[in-house]
């Protein structure tokens, strides 16, 4: 029973919506940026309160341990990104890449996107979840194309087309799920309510579920960025504004993965349907190895880290596919670490791009000399994302490899191969960028360092010590995942 005078579930939805309306109406950059940060901060507070006092499950909305992990992570990264974007966008205004109307549009759409993502994470109805994911995708499409350069348009168009196809396949899978559930649960809203379905899944016809899951995997997998439906991801990351790249990598991919996990839970509850594991393992491993290979040829810094996102989502999907308490724990931990690290990296990359006025890796040299905080931040971030100790990502990757050895030893071979490949590529590119004689612009950095430093310190701390309550909580969720 909730003791708070409001329902936190509704609050994390209302706050972004109201903020979006206000932000669309207000002119002036400074006030909208501050309001954006304030709205994200309020959402974060409400999200944390969900962990403390959990409201009862409703027909349309509910939270359980799994959603709370995602919701809090979502709110945190949304908050820090809004802080980063507040200072970043000022520079874009100055250089004329955006005008003030577009800045208003950007902030309003940012809040709508937060609303949509929160709705997807707390929805109890598989149809509503689909609507929310689609809304989030469409808002990010609009934001990717916001610079209106030819490259941005091409990226946004590709993202729109591929995203829409993915969404269509996911909807078909959802409809098939409903059709499969109707004979067991009855028609109407009940057959789409997750909490009702999870108890009755064993009576559902497995053949239809198999086909439904394939469509869902392909559809939502497009959003997660799994190979072979990943083609939109590098362009969207590279051509959109940097805060959007951070949001895409750190948040949207997670939300899509959450949708996949919810359906995985339903499939596992029905004993006879095909195990969703092997499909997730296959797609995850392919993504890992493919992305690791692709890292070598990249010449644009944002594109490099976009492929790194594909690689890591592959690892996470692979971990959840392996299943079992250890692998699920590793997957959850890796997902958290990846969100924090990747957004930190994109914060750094955004500032680098602003200062050096280029995104080409060859033209960025000697960062640690010209901009020490930025340079060493990037070094730390890349070391983390490559999976080296003592950062938290090393811990989660290690756990993934261990659990693979325990369950299916031969799979560990391609896994480790992929990890090492990626490591080599990233460190190779890093060396040139961070060290050596500085080149390019030497002006001061205008954006705030705070988000990047916060994320990186969290990841560093996780490498040494994770607080006991969090460990227990993750373990509990891992056991739920089956």
């Amino acid at each position: 029973m909730t003791q708070l005078p409001f329902d936190a579930l509704i609050a994390i939805l209302i706050v972004p919506l109201v903020a979006a309306v206000i932000l669309a109406a207000l002119p002036g950059y400074k006030s909208t940026a501050r309001l954006n940060v304030l709205a994200c901060f309020l959402t974060f507070i409400f999200a944390v309160s969900l962990a403390v006092e959990r409201p009862l499950a409703g027909r349309l909305l509910f939270v359980d341990d799994l959603s709370i992990v995602f919701v809090i992570l979502n709110a945190l990264v949304g908050l820090t990104t809004s802080i980063f974007s507040a200072s970043y966008i000022a520079h874009e205004l100055d250089t004329g890449k955006l005008n003030s109307i577009y800045v208003r549009f950007y902030h309003a759409t940012y809040q709508i996107m937060m609303f949509a993502m929160n709705l997807a994470l707390i929805s109890n109805n598989i149809g509503l979840m689909w609507v929310a994911v689609e809304m989030a995708t469409l808002t990010t499409v609009l934001m990717v194309g916001i610079y209106r350069t030819p490259e941005a348009l091409e990226a946004a168009w590709k993202y729109f087309i591929l995203g829409s196809v993915g969404i269509a396949l996911a909807l078909f899978g959802t409809i098939l799920f409903y059709v499969a559930a109707v004979p067991v649960v009855g028609q109407g809203l009940d057959a789409m309510t997750w909490t009702l379905l999870i108890n009755r899944m064993s009576a559902v016809d497995p053949a239809l579920l198999n086909i439904a899951f394939v469509f869902l995997m392909l559809g939502y997998g497009t959003k997660v960025g799994l190979v072979p439906v990943h083609a939109w991801l590098p362009d969207a990351h590279a051509e959109g504004p940097t805060p959007i790249s951070a949001v895409l990598s750190g948040l949207l991919l997670n939300v899509a993965l959450y949708a996949v996990l919810r359906f995985k839970l339903l499939m596992v509850a029905n004993g006879e349907a095909i195990a969703p594991g092997p499909m997730m393992i296959a797609m995850g491993l392919t993504s890992l190895v493919f992305a690791a290979f692709m890292l070598y040829q990249r010449r644009d810094i944002k594109r490099l880290f976009a492929y790194s996102s594909i690689e890591h989502m592959g690892i996470i999907t692979f971990a959840f596919g392996i299943g079992g308490p250890l692998a699920n724990f590793a997957g959850l931990l890796h997902m958290t670490m990846h969100s924090l690290t990747k957004s930190a990296i994109f914060f750094a990359v955004g500032q680098i791009a602003q200062v050096k006025r280029t995104q080409k890796i060859d033209e960025i040299r000697g960062l640690t000399v010209s901009h020490p905080v930025l340079g060493w931040g990037l070094v730390l971030g890349v070391v983390a994302i490559a999976g080296l100790p003592p950062m938290g990502v090393f811990m989660s990757e290690f756990l993934v490899v261990t659990s693979t050895f325990v369950k299916t030893p031969w799979l560990a071979l391609p896994l480790v191969f992929g990890l090492l490949l990626a490591l080599g590529a990233l460190l190779g590119k890093l060396g040139g960028m961070a060290f050596g004689k500085p080149s390019g612009g030497l002006g001061p950095v205008e954006a705030s360092y705070f988000p990047m430093i916060l994320h990186l310190s969290l990841v560093l701390m996780a490498g040494f010590y994770i607080p006991e309550p969090i460990v227990v909580w993750f373990q509990h969720v891992a056991s739920l995942l089956g």
């Binding site: 689609e134 469409l138 087309i161 909807l171 078909f172």
Partner: protein
């Protein structure tokens, strides 16, 4: 009053008609023809959904039928007509593969979706079964259309025909609540808004909507 066999037959005719119109969409090579056939596609969809509403006594499906009719059969094709006229877009729609090969692949896809959906939906009632099988065929044909067209308008029409197939599937699944119908209508609205913005911007930048021209800006080559 209407016996079951007749209700099934009429639904079969309407869904089969939609499939046939999807094939017609595949072989269009002129822009206006494409838009007109798409309007026909949406019209047959609204008839099909309305019949479904009548047979299953689900009045909310009438709303979906009206939305499909007004929005997708009338407003969107007219608006796209105007956009094509105003932007002076090149009037022929090139295809990447020849029409004959496209048709054969289309038939193959229809056979595939029948083979996939029919055995699996044994438990469901015949109307839902056939709606799902036809819907999957229409979705796959829409995908084929998107893959074989080089023109942005053609790709968007393919996307919207996929959405039509989804509406057919949702209507066929009995009792699917209003949530999904609103969402489908809403996705149409937003998609159209996005299409409008993009078509204007693409034309502005490139003087054409041939997406192969966009390829030279593919970042990978940089």
């Amino acid at each position: 009053m209407i016996n079951e066999a007749l209700s099934y037959d009429v639904a079969h005719i309407l869904a089969g008609g939609m499939l046939l119109v999807s094939f017609m969409l595949l072989y269009q090579d002129r822009m206006y023809g494409l838009l007109n056939i798409f309007a026909l596609h949406a019209f047959v969809l609204s008839l099909s959904v309305a019949w479904e509403a009548y047979v299953n006594h689900s009045p909310h499906l009438y709303v979906t039928a009206v939305i499909a009719l007004v929005l997708k059969a009338i407003i969107i094709p007219t608006a796209l007509h105007r956009i094509v006229q105003r932007l002076g877009i090149h009037r022929t729609v090139e295809t990447t593969v020849g029409i004959g090969a496209t048709m054969l692949v289309g038939i193959g896809l229809v056979a595939l979706s029948m083979a996939l959906m029919l055995p699996v939906t044994d438990a469901a009632d015949p109307l839902a079964r056939q709606d799902l099988a036809f819907a999957l065929s229409i979705i796959l044909l829409g995908l084929l259309m998107m893959v074989t067209r080089r023109n942005a308008v053609g790709q968007v029409v393919g996307l919207m025909s996929i959405e039509n197939g989804l509406i057919l599937a949702a209507a066929g699944a009995n009792g699917m609540p209003l949530v999904v119908e609103i969402s489908v209508a809403f996705s149409v609205l937003v998609a159209f808004m996005v299409i409008g913005i993009f078509l204007f911007r693409i034309r502005e930048r490139f003087d054409t909507v041939d997406v192969h021209v966009l390829d030279s800006f593919r970042g990978e080559r940089r």
